[in-house]
Structure formats: C-alpha cells, structure tokens
C-alpha cells in the first residue's frame, strides 16, 4: 500500500514540476489556457470536499470565488499581494461558516437551491455596493505578470488536489461519506453530522476565495456580474460530475476534458459548447454518475479483484 502511495506521490510531483515549466516553454496564449485549467482544477477539487463527499450539492460556489475577487479589489494598492491572497481565502471561509451554520441544518434539495439563492443575493449586494460607491467596474493597475499569477495558481491547484486526496483518505472523509450514504444512520453511530458538514463547507470555500483574488488580477478589470456569474458555479458542478466527485483524480479529469472542449468550441460556437455541457451533465448523471474516474475505477476493480 505504501509503495503505491509513494509512486502516486512521485507522479504527482513530476506533473507539478512539468506544469511549472509551462511559462518557459509556451507562449502567452497557452500559458493563459493553462492558467484557466489550473483555476478550474483548484475550484472543482475544493467543491467536492462538501458536495462530492457528502452529497450536499452547492450550486452557488461562485460566491466564494467572487468574494475573494472583491476582497482583492478592495485591498488592491492598500495591502501587498501575498497578504491579500490568503486574506481572500479567509474571508471566503468565514462567509461559508456564516452561510453553513443556518443552512446546513436543512436537508437535501433545500440546501441546494439555498446555495444558489445565496450566491445570487451576494452578487446583487456587491452590485448595489459598487453602484453606491459610484463605481461601474474597476481597473486594477500594476497587477502581477501572467507568469507570476500562473505560479500562484499552480500552487493553489496542487494544494486543492492534495487536500481533496487527504480528506478522502482520512477519518474525516469516512465520516463525510457516511453522511452521503445515510445521514441518520451516520449520526446514530456517532458521526457529528452538522459539525462535519459545516467544516467541509468552510474548507471547500477557502481555496476558491484565494483563486478569486488571483483571477481578478488576471483580467485587470473587475465587474461583479462576471465574478459572481452562475456560469462559474455551473461549470464547477459539471466538471466534478463528469470527472467524478468521489476522490481527487475526478475533478482533475473533468477540468481537463471540459477545458479542452471549450478550447475547441468557445471562440466560435459558445452556445453549442453550453448546450453540450448541459447534455453532458444530464448524460453523466443518468449514465455514469461516478464520472470518468468512477468508470475507470470500476473497470480496474473488475479486472484486478
């Protein structure tokens, strides 16, 4: 068992090292695509901490991304970059705590649509605040270079992946999965269900908050409707469902698949891309609910065992 883990860890480090070479080998456009890919990986790996492991689906995860972005917007020029990134994560985590505490006491579909409502609510509040401050969009001057942002995002994506994997294998992860299987039975055998759900939700918000602080500097232009866009939430969910939401490899696969697809279609046929996304989501939920990763795992199990 340990030898397999060692091999996996080595492979992981090799991939990260390879990815770190990208800014030196690729032109700016491809580095930008790679940056986007890393962003989605970081977001999707964080999303599954609650939604994949417990089955409490968060349809409004963009709210943490947007919150981080807004923290960066407000703190830009006032606080140094390396301080604001974790600050964005902290604020997003606190927001999750504030949302989770009342909201994770409701079951099933209520929580799902509630997360959606909260995300939209936050979006319109920020729009109102910005309007109140007289700002119709903000320009971010003096942002770090694309390469610098790339390395930060690589770190975030790697961290998200590792955290997802560690949680999956941990005692905490076992408790979360028990909640997914049967919440009442889990509680009866001692799993502190409410506490764990809130903890998982909070954890799932931190890296997306940090990702938001970075991405808002990439476009150097902040507009609330963009960073709180429900499309971001939808894409995260679809990537995790298609890739597989039970374990770290899944979201990675989903992100790679969808980013590739979007590279093919988005420029010329954005609606077709979206229709395909919707169809894939429906198809996978019905036909392959464990995603690509789950499908691979099932094939290997049948061959090996």
């Amino acid at each position: 068992m340990t030898r397999r883990r060692l091999a996996a860890a080595t492979a992981f480090l090799a991939v990260v090292a390879l990815a770190a070479l990208a800014p030196f080998l690729l032109g700016p456009y491809l580095v930008g695509v790679a940056l986007d890919l890393l962003m989605w990986i970081a977001l999707a790996e964080s999303w599954i901490l609650l939604s994949g492991m417990t089955g409490y689906i968060s349809l409004g995860h963009a709210v943490f991304f947007g919150t981080g972005g807004y923290v960066m917007v407000l703190a830009w020029g006032v606080l140094p970059f390396w301080l604001v990134v974790p600050l964005g994560g902290l604020v997003a985590g606190l927001l999750a705590l504030a949302i989770g505490y009342p909201c994770l006491r409701v079951r099933g579909p209520y929580f799902v649509i509630l997360t959606f409502g909260v995300a939209e609510f936050a979006k319109f509040v920020v729009v109102a605040i910005e309007a109140g401050l007289g700002k119709a969009g903000r320009l971010m001057f003096g942002a770090p270079s694309l390469d610098e942002l790339y390395f930060v995002m690589l770190a975030l994506a790697a961290a998200a992946f590792v955290i997802a994997d560690c949680v999956r294998r941990s005692r905490f992860g076992a408790g979360l999965r028990a909640i997914r299987e049967d919440e009442d039975a889990a509680e009866t055998i001692g799993v502190p269900t409410t506490r764990f759900k809130i903890l998982a939700y909070t954890l799932s918000a931190i890296i997306p908050g940090m990702v938001g602080t970075v991405m808002v500097l990439r476009s150097t232009y902040f507009e609330p409707l963009q960073v709180f866009d429900p499309l971001i939430s939808f894409t995260i969910v679809t990537m995790a469902i298609i890739g597989g939401s039970d374990g770290a490899p899944g979201p990675l696969m989903g992100a790679v698949f969808l980013v590739s697809l979007s590279e093919l279609l988005w420029a010329n046929l954005p609606e077709v891309y979206m229709i395909l996304l919707g169809a894939l989501l429906v198809g996978f939920v019905l036909g392959a609910p464990d995603g690509i990763h789950g499908w691979i795992r099932a094939r290997l199990a049948r061959r090996g065992a």
Binding site: L59, E120, F121, M274, I275
Partner: protein
C-alpha cells in the same frame, strides 16, 4: 408616501401576482406529486413567450390563440422529459437513493440546454411586440388592456386549476398522491399516470404564463431565470405541495416586490427576492401555512 397607496401599485401587484401564482402552481404540482424541483421551470416560461412572439411577428397570430399552441408544445416537452430522463432516474437503484439531488442536476442541465438553444436560434437580443396596448382607466389607476387580459386569464386559469384539483376524480388522485404516496397506491391510484399528467400540466401552465408575459415584457433567452427563483420562493412561502398556498404566496411575493421596489429602488428588486428566498428557507422552511413536513 401617498404614491404608495396609489391604485397603480396595486394593479401592478395584481398582474405580477397572478403571473407568479400561475408559474408557481405548475412548479408545485410537479414537486407535490413527485418531490422533484424543476429548476428549468422558468425556461418553459421563456419558451412559451417565444412561441407567442414568433406567432405574432411572423403570422400575426394573437397571443391569446398561440398560447394554446405554447401550452400543447410545452406539455409534450414535459412528458418527453419525464419519460426519457426522469423515469430513468426513478427506476435506477443507483440514482433513486439520491433522487432529489440527481433530479436537480438533471433539470439544471436541461435548463442550460433550453437557454442556450434559444440563444443559438434566436440570438440573445431581447425582443418585443405591441398588442392590445391601449390604456384603460379604472378609478385613479391606468392599466393597459394587455395587462388586464394577463391578469384575468392568469387568475381564471389558477382558479380553474385549483377547482379541477379539488373536484375532479383525477384531481383527487393527484392530491391523494401529494398527501400520502404509499396509501394512494394502495387505493389503486397509478403514480405513473399521475406523474405524466403532473409534468404535462405543470409545463403547460409555465408556457401559458410565458405567452401572457410576452404581451407585456421583453422576451430573451435568459428571461426565465427570475421566474424560477420567484416560483421557488412562492412554493416555499406557501408550503411545498400546498396549491392554495401558492396562489396566496404569488400575490404576497408580488406585493413585497412591488412595494419594496417603490420604497427603495428598481435595482433592489433582485436583492429583495433573493433576500426573501433565503429568509424563508432558513427560518420557516415549512412555509407560512405549513403543509409538507421538512425532513430534518
């Protein structure tokens, strides 16, 4: 402050309330009988709106005629979605255990497909047409004829739907299924038939609302979304499965929205709706009138 008491706001509340109630009733019908939350519901409103828009623009057909076409098409779509997608999920042991979460995802996907298909076919530009826009005066309020028609038709259909559910045999069966699934089966009611009917009716009502709305508002591929949210707020306010509650809730939400906006500003409309949404879900998930029990 005396503008707050004007007949104008009351009229606006009534029109919007009747539309909201119509949309919410359809959503509640599907939820009540099947416990499935149709996130794509607002997009059926959008489809109905487009049917009437194109009917009028291309063939000068009155929306009061094309609304029947919209309802029929939507009902067919609803039954197709039920048979092809929902029933598969219900019959799969792997999926039915978490049917609520899974069906939400499925409807989410359907919503995205509907919205972007409309955007692909019709472009995202908002469209409108003028029909029956003469102004009628009632007391100190002025109302356009089309708004009056919307109010009357929506209200009539809502009342008719509730009466149908109260008085007809099928309606009784539907209500029995809503209240007590297993007992209803024992009484010989086939859930399958009722599910199909619920989808057809629910989808048809949404499309009807869309046809009506197309007379008084711009039509665009992403217009349905606020109606989905409003419908959710209403069915939770009124109680999931509680149809009369949806009727009252529709007017209640419309009142909150109309008077809230009058007190603050138009840009606060979304904050108001989502704020009410969150408040109700967190503090009184069983709604103002109780009804279905919330699983804890």
């Amino acid at each position: 402050m005396d503008s707050l008491l004007s007949g104008q706001l009351l009229v606006a509340t009534l029109v919007v309330g009747a539309l909201y109630a119509l949309v919410a009733l359809g959503l509640n019908l599907i939820y009540g009988t099947m416990r499935l939350l149709n996130i794509a519901h607002g997009d059926l409103v959008m489809l109905g709106a487009y049917v009437s828009y194109w009917g009028f623009s291309l063939a000068s057909v009155s929306p009061l005629v094309s609304m029947f076409v919209a309802m029929a098409l939507s009902a067919l779509l609803g039954m197709a979605i039920y048979v092809v997608l929902v029933r598969r999920a219900l019959h799969s042991t792997a999926l039915v255990a978490r049917i609520e979460a899974n069906s939400l995802l499925i409807f989410f996907g359907v919503s995205v497909i509907l919205q972007n298909t409309a955007a692909l076919l019709f472009t995202a530009n908002p469209r409108a047409y003028a029909y029956l826009d003469q102004v009628i005066r009632i007391g100190d309020a002025a109302i356009s004829a089309n708004r009056l028609v919307v109010l009357v038709v929506a209200l009539v259909v809502c009342v008719a739907a509730i009466l149908y559910l109260r008085l007809s045999m099928t309606g009784l069966a539907i209500r029995a299924l809503i209240q007590e699934r297993d007992a209803a089966r024992l009484a010989g009611i086939e859930p399958e038939r009722i599910h199909l009917l619920s989808f057809a009716l629910g989808f048809a009502m949404a499309a009807l609302a869309g046809s009506l709305i197309s007379m008084i508002q711009q039509v665009s591929p992403f217009m349905g979304f606020p109606f989905t949210i409003a419908a959710f707020v209403i069915i939770i306010l009124g109680g999931l499965g509680n149809l009369m509650g949806s009727l009252i809730g529709g007017f209640l939400l419309a009142a909150i929205e109309t008077y809230g906006v009058a007190l603050t500003s138009a840009s606060f409309r979304s904050i108001l709706i989502y704020g009410v949404f969150i408040a109700v879900l967190v503090w009184r998930p069983q709604g103002l009138f109780g009804g279905a029990r919330v699983a804890r």
